[in-house]
């Protein structure tokens, strides 16, 4: 028998097959990018401890009812106005100049009936159990936005960059340079406007 030469495999359709697979994986891929609002829960306190006293003027009460309506400082408010109201409250700096609680970096109205300084100012969110989660997140988002706005303003003034942007760079590892120095600068700014969000236990519905 004469040996026949093996015919060459036609590779012309290889590209087609590869394309088919490629398209399949393209369609099924969901590159997961989970992002969200990070929060630290308060530890459970021993019941004997007396809760700290907070002056009425240092408290910013946001109340959300079961039909997702906002009551801010006893006034009905739209969600879109919440951010501005929170900024005004935090930035007020009502303590008189010269007192130890005076806030030199505040640019607010310095009204004596609003918060003394950002360190004293506490935002308290009260939810009903039937409030929708969507509303809850929106409120949290607006309040964090108020803090971020003020922190950005201060970091812009002190260091010439935006707080949120640098924090993102640091978290994602895109920052080249002295990370410890940046970390301490970030903490400095966080100290100027510390996040003080309190969440009361949600009320029982129907009350």
């Amino acid at each position: 028998m004469a040996r026949r030469a093996t015919p060459e495999v036609n590779a012309g359709s290889m590209a087609d097959i590869a394309f088919l697979l490629l398209i399949f994986f393209l369609v099924t891929t969901t590159i997961e990018k989970d992002k969200g609002i990070a929060r630290q829960l308060p530890p459970i306190e021993p019941p004997t401890e007396t809760p700290p006293l907070i002056k009425e003027k240092n408290l910013f009460i946001v109340n959300v009812n079961k039909s997702d309506q906002l009551l801010v400082e006893d006034e009905l408010m739209d969600l879109k106005d919440l951010r501005a109201a929170a900024i005004e409250f935090l930035d007020n700096g009502g303590a008189p100049a010269g007192s130890p609680e005076h806030c030199p970096h505040c640019k607010g109205r310095r009204s004596t009936s609003s918060s003394d300084n950002p360190d004293k100012a506490v935002i308290s969110v009260q939810n009903d159990r039937l409030t929708s989660y969507k509303m809850y997140i929106s409120v949290q988002n607006e309040l964090v936005a108020a803090y971020n706005f003020l922190r950005n303003r201060e970091s812009e003034r002190l260091y010439g960059w935006e707080f949120t942007e640098m924090k993102k760079n640091l978290d994602e590892g895109n920052f080249s340079g002295n990370e410890d120095a940046l970390q301490s600068k970030l903490e400095n700014i966080q100290k100027l406007f510390p996040l003080k969000l309190s969440e009361a236990e949600p009320k029982k519905s129907g009350l």
Partner: protein, 157 residues
């Protein structure tokens, strides 16, 4: 002198496509590696609310909790009330601690103290369910949590 006269280049030469399969294969391998075929079988409706003041989640140290009302095909059996899902099954609020401990044990040992709880909650759930979860987390002393959100803002639509 006809030696140096060039060939007539009247028509364009065809583009060489010999390396096309290589390029396609390269892309193919990239997507094959990146693809995660769903590892959590979702038993609940899970549409995240939108927010824009967000931080990135560090996946290696997180435990997921899903919550929402049961998906359409489970509604006959489980009703329409909000439910909690951890891993592949529904969890009752009383079993939450146990299920979370189990989920935590699956993480790398050196990261177990830095565990972060990722809450993936449907936007139409009641806040009451979320605060029940938060209360359990406080008792477990897992205090760092992150509310996973979608991009955007609920204000502009």
């Amino acid at each position: 002198m006809s030696k140096f006269t060039k060939k007539k280049s009247g028509e364009l030469p065809a583009v060489n496509t010999a390396s096309l399969p290589d390029i396609v294969f390269m892309l193919l391998f990239f997507f094959m590696v990146v693809t995660v075929l769903r590892n959590n079988n979702l038993l609940v409706v899970n549409q995240m609310p939108k927010a824009d003041q967000v931080e990135k989640l560090q996946k290696d140290r997180s435990v997921y909790i899903f919550a929402g009302k049961p998906s359409a095909r489970y509604q006959d059996k489980y009703g329409k009330e909000g439910k909690i899902q951890i891993g592949d099954k529904y969890t009752d609020i009383t079993n939450l601690k146990f299920a979370l401990e189990e989920a935590r044990r699956k993480l790398r040992p050196e990261l177990q103290d830095k565990v972060m709880v990722a809450l993936k909650v449907d936007k139409n759930t009641n806040t009451g369910l979320v605060s029940d979860i938060k209360q359990e987390l406080r008792e477990l002393n897992m205090l760092k949590l992150i509310y996973i959100t979608a991009q955007g803002n609920e204000l502009d639509r």
